[in-house]
Amino acid sequence: MTTRIENVSRRDFLKAGAGLTLGLVLPGADAALAAAAKDSQGMEAAFAPNAFVRIGADNRVTVIAKHLEMGQGTYTGLATLVAEELDANWAQVVVEGAPADAKRYNNLLWGPSQGTGGSTAIANSFEQLRHAGASARAMLVQAAAARWKVPAGEIRVKAGVVSHAKSGRKASFGELAEAAAKQAVPQDVRLKDPKDFTLIGRHVPRKDSVEKTTGRALFTQDVKLPGMLVAVVAHPPRFGATVRTVDERAARAVPGVLRVVRIPQGVAVLARDYWTAKKGRDALQIDWDDSAAYRGSSAQILADYRKLAATPGLVARRDGDTDKALAEGAQALEAEYAFPYLAHAPMEPLNCVMRIDAQGCEVWNGEQFQTGDQYTLAAFFGLKPEQVKLNMLFAGGSFGRRANPAADYVLETAHIVKAIRGEAPVKLVWSREDDMRAGYYRPLYLHRLRAALDAQGKPLAWAQRVVGQSILAGTPFEAGMVKDGIDATSVEGAANLPYAIPNLQVELHTTSKDVKVPVLWWRSVGSTHTAFAAEVFLDELATAAGADPVAYRLDLLGAHPRHAGVLKLAADKAGWSRPLAPGKTGRRGRGVAVHESFNTFVAQVVEVTVAPDGGFTVDRVVCAVDCGIAVNPDVIRAQMEGGIGFGLAAALSGAITLKDGVVEQSNFHDYPILRIDQMPRVEVHIVRSAAKPTGVGEPGVPPLAPALVNALFAATGKRIRTLPIGEQLKA
């Protein structure tokens, strides 16, 4: 059984036969395993030596990507690893998304789970995919040796050509594919010495650029199945509210509205197209029952957190005797930093396509957490996990939103499918307003910091209290990542502060039992707030000590050479030792921050110009990154550039606020994201390293906000301690 996507432009595209294809012909649930042995045109692949690579008689090398491509460049990165050891020609390589099968495609850093997140894609795949490529290469070589009756050791493979110099024989992968399939899979393959890399560390074009430049890339929003209905849902205005009564008459009166169904998440209106379904949704008259709803306000949450921050919390780290040292210092400092809720706001509003039949359930989704979604859906429908087939499509951004242990929008789709008894495939589409208001935010946090300096200005003590909701409480990750009541994601970046401070204490107050706002990881997770608190407070210490911010940090980073390395590199490239050129339109300032997240080290120097009225521009950001071996340097640069833009948007104006339980923002006019005219000039410098590669999707974000605030302080003498910055310099 196969399901055809009806999309006209896709069909034309496939006729043209160009580029990376995610498959016009989508195999049904019962064909999942057979599909793995087919190439991207749906043809039987001549040679499929393992779960990650297939080679067709047409000489096409298909790399099966187990991670979601959501912009971070992982399809290119994963393909680079395979192609490097296979010695393929980059042009012959195409990529397709893996099916949900945690036995073959689990994230090696997540144990038995398949999913994408925590900047782990390249880190966990580096050896696995190189082995996959090397193993396929060895079998091609064996096939050539047998065919040409020459020793395998005399055969070379270069850029997709297998050759034997003495006999002058050569062959393409496609010509050898069928014979290679008959060779034994080697038990042991030797990976290349990094000095022999021809693709890793070089510039290769992204595998998804052409289709993303011509409107052909297939996102969930673009899927259209025969008979499919589009569902738009009325969600409650407050979290936890339910439908008391609904008057559907006006909605049903909209021509084209076919179904109106109640689900636990609200009321869904279904039509053949989005616009009709949305008109129907907007015409619903719903009386919401707020008796179980959360009615908190951001201002009250912050005030409550402030009270909590004055009391001891659970200890996440304790070095020395902080209370004693705080009392004994020559100079004492104290500061409080506040962080709002933040929406992920990917450009593609959330959506999911699902259908069910006697064989099972099939889903089309920017699928970021296969194992979680698969088990959630299996439990919901009473199916075996393997009866839940997940087609991983490109995601139009995610930033963490599509990997939700609660599977919120996926489960919402399932409820609609169930409510219509599976009579038609359903595409759930959230409007931008739904996306902004229906939850799953970076939690609101408050940090209280105190420090003591000795007579020379060096820090003697550092005491930090973090207050906020737990992201992991109540999720399957709780067992592994919440220890003794401390959610590792609440204190990452704080509890592992790298600076040499003899008396250091980090405490946590978790507020999840009182504050019922749905929260989730958001690009760089805990480091979105801990990096700011640490790097701004350290700057305050340096100022109090009368020290240079870079020199002060370096003095405390003796045991952390990779932090020091990126800090020195960024400072050097930014010309830190030379005075900043004066501004034509205002006072200039330069600030710095360094932070490790997901085992990647990033330092950024930010330069600003502040006008007399307090308005400012971010002129330049110099970024240094140490992520071990740079697999795709240009992708790394792109992720640093993008991370800086993402961090800057949040620092300037990002805030989701609640009033009486209702989210006050709705679209990009009141939750602005960065515009091109706000984008600074960015320079990225990559540290040369032989260490294993680590991730780059997230680590570019954390240093930006603290470096910016430190730069604004350098320009104005005013210290911003509450994000977003907004109009605070104009006050």
């Binding site: 999309n7 409107g215 589409v429 679209n667």
Partner: protein, 157 residues
């Protein structure tokens, strides 16, 4: 019934005249290269050309598009349009796209902008920023968008 001239072909649609052009393109005609981002002309993901002008198709009812030449990303980048082709090639050369979802709109705005310039005129960085300020990219590909537009402008000069 509304007849629309899309990418040089006439299409007759049986949809309500108030339907935004975006949904007629996407859901009725299957031209899904034009994207839905905000539904309120705030992000530019849905940008198409109406008689050569960049417009937000999410707030343009089909009644307002009737009688005009509508161009979408599919035609702008199919190689038949000199400036669209230059923009497409520059986008690929600079590997602008990350998630890619906003890029159809970015490319349509960039193409309309370059077409609006006097022949041979090279846009300044400020002019590029001003022309593109209505197109949002959550991935932050702006530095490369600037570079690609400047590159395309040199190509067509």
């Amino acid at each position: 019934m509304t007849t629309l001239d899309i990418n040089g072909r006439e299409h007759t649609l049986d949809v309500a005249t108030g339907t935004p052009l975006l949904w007629a393109l996407r859901d009725t005609l299957g031209l899904t290269g034009t994207k839905f981002g905000c539904g309120a002309a705030l992000c530019g993901a849905c940008t198409v050309h109406l008689d050569g002008q960049a417009v937000r198709s999410c707030i343009t009812p089909i009644s307002a598009a009737a009688g005009k030449k509508i161009t979408t990303i599919e035609a702008a980048t199919d190689g038949g349009d000199r400036i669209g082709t230059a923009v497409r090639d520059a986008w690929v050369k600079h590997d602008v796209a990350q998630c890619g979802y906003c890029q159809s709109g970015q490319i349509m705005s960039a193409t309309a902008f370059l077409k609006s310039l006097p022949k041979g005129k090279q846009p300044t960085p400020d002019e590029i920023d001003a022309a593109m300020a209505g197109n949002l990219c959550r991935c932050g590909t702006y530095a490369r968008i600037r570079a690609a537009i400047a590159d395309a402008a040199r190509t067509i000069a």
